[in-house]
């Protein structure tokens, strides 16, 4: 890592951590129903929404009712997204006259956006009408993120309430997350992005004359090019903030109309981790012990920072095969050096690697460089962060509730080691919580490993693999990791718009989202019904640096140990073979 990389990354991390506290406090105020500016100004609007929808805002829900509402709302969203794609050729705002989308691709995309994954088996500018982009995809960008935040808030209430059966009202949590947190941030972000040159228009694609005519594959001379435009800025803002990641254009944030300037790149990267980081502070604020929030954030950073260092290091080191050919890969005033394949020259090594590590850890999935072209270990770091269960930052809300599931496992083991029935924030952790936290820990393993095994065996899976050998294997493993982690980024090089991949990935996304939300709500319900054990000197302190470290270790061991053999046959062996030649 050279000084240039170091300074850029440091600035990023410092700004991120500085922003966590004010935003975290603001969100805590919103969820606690305290006056916090926006909710004072828009209170009557919020009430109007409840009145129109027939929501009794003050009525609390048991965890089961909460879960039913989450599911109903999400399935409804899924159906709407599916229908809009299937019918888009008959609907307005389709200036490019896009045909309706195929059933399996529509299913995949519907699940993908409802689950906050935003895996894209399609290319945006060549598939979706403006109406689909806005009404189906952008709407889901907001509400899928808000769903994750609502579930987290219900879980937090489980910790702070004493012998209570209800967890708050899902509709209220959903509306407040959207109205007071996601919308304002997204509006500010969109305007800034537009100022930087991100497109926002309903006009059809623009046709421009080529400066120099070219020949296409068939030998015909091409003199014109079509430049895709559309209402991009509004979607990109929330795609970054809501850990969605689905690009307006196929090239995602590597596209100059999605991410035109260094400032837009910095802000988009910042908004990748902004809410997940701030939610840690919200957690500490709401449980009335801010140190508990900092510990969670620290545990994330304990894993995040070495991964970031590793990614920058391996990318900057460049391609070992090129070294043997005597190609100069050192950074200098004339070149960024390192492995620049699949990276935008304007972003260079630091901003590409930083984005890749951030998007992988945040369950976002947007990209500004192609992960498939990273060095084997650089690509492995991104894949591995996803396989950890998307709890290092993770999706908005979902990352933190996932990490709390790991915390429950950590507290259990640590509690035994000091000779007490484990407790976290005064709540006793018993068999029921362990059962539910265990589901959260192992369900993603099922949906990563089994479909990957299937895909590398059956022809329907192998036919999509464009690269042979270890790298092809990595691509399939990455795809299922990304779907299960609700990340959505891809190691391209795999044709996934097929019946097999659309269906298998769709199911992985669906089950890894909702089969984790339901157990987490069950934990919240069970914790909420418990007493709070007062703190004594025999209580296991969960706010110490030691515990942050221990939590990180538990995440590594529970989340990653099982993937070691698979990684050994993919990126690790690829790296070793490269260094042997």
């Amino acid at each position: 890592m050279n000084w240039d990389n170091f300074i850029q990354i440091s600035i990023y991390l410092i700004v991120l951590l500085l922003a966590a506290k004010p935003l975290g406090t603001f969100m805590a105020h919103i969820y606690e129903g305290r006056p916090a500016g926006l909710n004072v100004w828009f209170a009557s609007f919020e009430k109007w929404i409840y009145r129109v929808c027939g929501v009794r805002a003050e009525a609390g829900m048991t965890w089961k009712k909460y879960a039913v509402c989450v599911m109903l709302f999400n399935v409804l969203g899924l159906v709407v997204v599916y229908a809009l794609q299937r019918l888009q050729s008959f609907l307005p705002f389709n200036p490019m006259a896009m045909p309706s989308v195929s059933p399996d691709s529509s299913f995949n995309t519907a699940v993908s956006f409802a689950t906050n994954t935003n895996w894209q088996g399609y290319g945006g500018e060549s598939t979706m009408s403006y109406l689909t982009q806005m009404l189906a995809l952008t709407v889901q960008n907001f509400v899928s993120a808000a769903t994750g935040m609502a579930v987290l808030v219900a879980l937090i209430r489980g910790f702070i309430q004493k012998q209570t059966r209800t967890l708050g009202n899902f509709w209220v949590d959903l509306v407040r997350s959207t109205l007071y947190i996601l919308m304002p941030l997204a509006i500010i972000m969109s305007l800034v992005l537009v100022s930087q040159g991100v497109v926002q228009t309903f006009k059809p694609s623009v046709t421009a004359a080529l400066v120099q005519p070219m020949k296409d594959g068939a030998g015909k001379t091409v003199t014109q090019q079509t430049i895709a435009v559309g209402p991009a800025a509004s979607q990109i803002a929330i795609k970054q903030l809501g850990t969605n990641g689905g690009g307006f254009f196929n090239a995602n944030s590597a596209h100059p109309f999605e991410n035109p300037t260094p400032l837009s790149n910095f802000l988009e990267m910042l908004s990748l981790l902004l809410i997940p980081a701030a939610l840690c502070y919200t957690f500490g604020f709401m449980v009335r012990d801010r140190r508990q929030g900092w510990v969670l954030l620290a545990a994330m950073l304990i894993i995040f920072i070495p991964c970031l260092w590793g990614s920058v290091h391996f990318e900057q080191k460049g391609n070992l095969l090129f070294d043997k050919l005597g190609i100069d890969q050192r950074a200098s005033v004339f070149q960024p050096g390192g492995n620049m394949e699949g990276k935008e020259a304007r972003f260079g090594i630091a901003n590409s690697a930083l984005w890749s590590v951030a998007t992988a850890s945040a369950s976002n999935g947007s990209v500004n460089s192609m992960h498939d072209s990273f060095m084997p270990l650089g690509g492995m770091i991104a894949m591995w962060l996803i396989q950890l269960g998307e709890v290092i930052f993770g999706g908005v809300g979902s990352g933190l509730y996932g990490l709390i599931a790991f915390m429950i496992v950590a507290v259990f083991i640590a509690g035994l080691m000091i000779g007490r029935t484990p407790e976290y924030l005064g709540k006793k952790i018993e068999a029921y919580e362990m059962k539910m936290a265990s589901l959260v820990a192992f369900i993603p393993h099922v949906f990563i490993l089994i479909p990957t095994a299937l895909a590398v065996l059956i022809p329907a899976g192998k036919v999509g693999m464009l690269n042979p050998g270890a790298h092809g294997f990595s691509e399939v493993l990455y795809a299922f990791s990304s779907a299960s982690g609700n990340n959505g980024s891809a190691f391209a090089g795999l044709s996934v718009n097929t019946l097999f991949y659309n269906t298998a990935l769709g199911l992985a996304m669906f089950f890894c989202r909702y089969w984790l939300i339901i157990p987490m709500l069950a934990i919240a319900g069970s914790l909420s019904a418990k007493k709070i054990v007062p703190v004594s000197s025999g209580t296991l302190p969960t706010h110490t640096p030691l515990f942050a470290f221990f939590l990180a270790m538990v995440v590594l061991i529970v989340g990653a140990l099982a993937f070691f053999p698979a990684l050994a046959l993919g990126p690790i062996v690829e790296h070793l073979m490269m260094s042997r030649i």
Binding site: T421, A431, L449, T452, F473, M553, F563, P565
Partner: protein
Amino acid sequence: MNKSHKSKSLFEPSIIGPAIIDSLKKLDPRHQIKNPVMFVVLVVSVLTTGLYFQAIFGHGEAPASFILAIALWLWFTLVFANFSEAMAEGRGKAQAASLKKARKDTPAKKLLQPKRSSAYVTVSATTLRKGDVVFIEAGDFIPMDGEIIEGVASVDESAITGESAPVIRESGGDHSAVTGGTRVLSDWLVVRVSSNPGETFLDHMIAMVEGAKRQKTPNEIALSILLAVFTIIFLLATVTLLPFSIYSVISSGHGVPITVTVLAALLVCLIPTTIGGLLPAIGIAGMDRMIQANVIATSGRAVEAAGDVDVLLLDKTGTITLGNRQAVAFIPTKGVTIESLADAAQLSSLSDETPEGRSIVILAKEKYGIRERQVHELEAKFIPFTAQTRMSGVDLGDGRQIRKGAADAIEDYVKKSGGLFPEDLKSNIESIAKSGGTPLVVSEHKRVLGVIQLKDIVKGGIKERFAELRRMGIKTIMITGDNPLTAAAITAEAGMDDFLAKATPETKLKLIREMQSGGRLVAMTGDGTNDAPALAQADVAVAMNTGTQAAKEAGNLIDLDSNPTKLIEIVEIGKQLLITRGSLTTFSIANDVSKYFAIIPAAFVGTYPALKALNIMRLATPESAVLSAVIFNAIIIILLIPLALRGVPYRPMKASLLLRDNLLIYGVGGIVAPFIGIKLIDMMLVALRLVK
């Protein structure tokens, strides 16, 4: 139970022999299914054994000798785990055998009417039912647990407690319970039977030491879930490795897919067999340690809950202080010499046989040289203490009337006689009360002479034990019938956190309920019938074996030594039980890192020679690498049996420091140890030419 048992070493030959046989018997799938981790090992062992026969009789996937070696070591893994359990049980069984001797069928004299004068018929003890009344004479065995309704007797309870000195049992009061299997040495008793055959205290003890009715405790269940999840995760990781391997072979064009034998070896190495195998032994050994502390737990839950206790309620008398108050000073009022006060105090106490009275006589003699006089020489008439007068004293032949008693009682007494209560004494009385003492005012006729300071003597060493408890995070509360001033002073002197003064059964119960609703786990000790409601409410209730039947039934632990400070030991045993489980779980999972580095390169080096770089232990051959990992995995179980049976030592210290230390030893140690162990085994295999 025999006290000599305590000295029994961990690996007694008399236990090891049967344990080896038992560990083979326990291979029964019906037994293994109870433990999911070990059941997986059983399935995999059968599978590899099948592969071995396939290799002998047909086309094997690997050399038959290699498959055999793996299969054998997988079986050893199972047997070693069974052995640990059998060892733990074996220690209990030896004790159960000696207890069973006490449960022999004795003849019982069943009374037709519940009184001594009634006629009786001799029946077998096994026919007695709850509510029957029996007569027991000197030399008879007590046929069944019961409550004495008539009589006093000395009873030899050594069969239960291991204590050879006989104890007195009598009707009424706190010593009215008798236990079946003990023997009356003198006098007679009429006893109402309080339990049916098969439900007696002795039966409970036997069942418990045998571990027969042992149920999983809540923490054990939660841990089993965690271990099952690890097993599923690693099962997924190994099962999917076969397709991954097939794909890799096809696409690279080298090597052969990973064999099922190696996958089986990898699976068993990765799943937490160390803790999975030792888990039952740890639980049984925890109960065993309780028994060695002479505590009988009626549920395993109580043992575990003991480790969680955060409030300890202790009776003052007999636990915190010596049973009796003692005189420590005479403080005369103005115009009275200390000698004349001591003299009067001694005279008033000559016939007072209470320990307090004796201590006054002794103090007068030791400090002021006033020799003991004979009561009859003085023609004295002793006035005993009554609840009405609240004083005692003596009327001497020469007309002197000396009284001693509570300050307000004496004040009334002298004022009635037309005397005055001196003001200067009042401040002395108050300061004595404040310091935790009891003031006893002495008067002669209408003149007040002074005050005797009686003091509770806090037991030696108890303060240190409370300090230890505080380091464990446990709050101690003293229960006393004293007034708050006295209670506060003793609480401070003993270094306790709080007190409940003027305690009654109701206030005790209320205190416990309040603590519990605040989320605290409460432990208490008790022996009297009036303790029973509070014992029943407490989470961990230690009843004294000398206590009443009601108290023993309300408690979930019974202390055979009837030592109230035993709670501290019980807490330590409970904590040790949890710590042992937690530490071995950490160790077991941490071991996986090294096993990957042994097996993964070995399994795939044929397909991808580059993976040789991961063989950081430089193990000789792929076969020896896999075999060494499996052997280490099996042997570590045997090596950890002593730790599982003895328990990880517990030192009272802050939770954060304890966690740090145990993480260093079992976490970091768990990562490093197998690297060394596997390498050593590999070197040994090569040296013995057991692998090519």
